[in-house]
Amino acid sequence: MTDTPARWRARLEPLAIFAALFLLWELAVRWFALPSWLLPAPSEILATARDWAPELAANALVTLRETVTGFALAVAISVPLAVLIAFTRVLRRVLYPILLGLQSVPKVALAPLVTLWLGVGEAPKVVIVVLVCFFPVLVNMIAGLEAAPRNMVDLMRSVEASRWQVFRRLRLPFALPHIFTGCKVAVTFAVIGSVIAEFVAAQSGLGYLILMSTSQSLTPLAFAAILLLTLMSVLLFYLIEWAERRAVTWHM
């Protein structure tokens, strides 16, 4: 790679900005002598995180599991649904309004109901994550499946390609970048979804830890959990982007 220095700079610059922000935060807390239950300094958050490392890790694992399971389920549900909606006019007329209506219901408002029905385990969290995720994945997938230009479809028709061949050889590869876009949007929603669900009723997870620690004025622990959640969200996002780079190797 000839552009290595430039690439390193591109990677280091955001890190430097974050470091500067944290330093400013640290200095501000010390300068104004803010009490730690109100706003802890980064150094204190770090120290607390070290003390509570096993609890943080265990709860992060729970949230991660809920998020990833819900996200994967949402994608698994969206794929056949998107294909059905994109290719059958009747289902499009019937299903689309229903799905749109479902999307318009605030998921936060549904969380207590889902908990009422499914209890306090991980199941209601996964359901909320699915509800939050599946719409962006579905909409982008439908858009992608319909995005193949007319002349490409005409080309496939001119070689007597079957509907399945048009789907497999043209529409699906053409939809791939759109599908990844939907997944990237959805995965950040997924983390939010599991935290919301944990807020309603939970015995574990980072959302539960945040609720528990703020009620006991353990603000540094709450901050540690929030930072961990952010980190998780960012990592999941980049994981999908990495997969996208491996799968979508062309540009239009």
Binding site: N151, M152, D154, L155, M156, R157, S158, V159, E160, A161, Q165, R169, L170, P173, L176, V248, T249, W250, H251, M252
Partner: protein
């Protein structure tokens, strides 16, 4: 599906196309009568919006006519057929496939064995001067090279008829001239029947055995002009006095249709 050769490769009788209905209806194509015989290269030239592209879509079975009949090798045409290769204005190569994979795609769709299709594709790519680019992605090729690859793809299934819709329209003038002459040579080597749609009079003459001149919308055929220029044609062909006379003749037919 080889036939006796007596029936024309393509024939149209009273063929017309109207888009939409009622007050919003647009008559794109009037009544077209046309016959293309085996081995012939027919150019269709006309002003933009005269229904040239519609004519090609009907010929390829991509659209159904509103009136009249259309037959391939004497049989009524009821949809697209692999016996007809189409070259569109844009190259329409799939960006996720290599050039070779793009060229073999129609053969794969048809379920032909991969080995011979691959060998034939490489042969065609070599003829088109793309031997070294078989493994490249379309994005790595210039506009002219992409259109050459599209030619190879149209020829892979060995079609009896080649339809071309302004295949050089998206290219710059120099590439255009080079490519059209190359195509002319390839066409002659392969002995293919072809229908070329263009708005470029010189291109129509340079490539065609006959030039059909179309009227503005609704398109009709105003004149059927034979091109008795010798083959192989080259850049020098365009300098011949006969070439110039044909060009003037066609120009005057087209401009006589302008109402001002």
């Amino acid at each position: 599906m080889q036939t006796d050769g007596a029936s024309p490769v393509l024939s149209m009788a009273g063929l017309g196309k109207t888009y939409g209905q009622g007050r919003g209806a647009v008559e794109a194509l009037g009544a077209i009568d046309l016959e293309i015989r085996r081995g012939e290269f027919v150019s269709v030239v006309g002003p933009s919006g005269c229904g040239k592209s519609t004519l090609l879509k009907l010929a390829g079975g991509l659209e159904a006519p509103s009136r009249g009949t259309i037959a391939r090798e004497g049989r009524p045409l009821d949809g697209p057929t692999r016996q007809t290769g189409i070259i569109f204005q844009e190259h329409v190569l799939f960006p996720w496939l290599s050039i070779l994979e793009n060229v073999t795609m129609p053969a794969e769709v048809a379920g032909h064995p991969a080995g011979p299709a691959r060998a034939r594709a490489l042969e065609l790519l070599a003829m088109a001067g793309l031997a070294d680019f078989a493994g490249h992605r379309p994005a790595q090729l210039s506009g002219g090279m992409k259109q050459r690859a599209a030619f190879c793809r149209a020829l892979i299934a060995d079609p009896g008829l080649l339809l071309m819709d302004e295949p050089f329209g998206a290219l710059d003038a120099l590439t255009r001239e080079e490519l059209s002459l190359d195509l002319s040579r390839m066409w002659q080597d392969l002995g293919r029947t072809a229908l070329l749609i263009t708005h470029d009079i010189e291109e129509a003459i340079l490539l065609g055995d006959r030039v059909l001149v179309m009227s503005p919308r609704p398109g009709r055929i105003l004149a059927d002009i034979p091109v008795p220029l010798p083959r192989p044609r080259s850049v020098e062909t365009a300098a011949l006095p006969e070439f110039h006379a044909l060009k003037q003749q066609i120009r005057s037919i087209i401009f006589s249709q302008r109402s001002i």
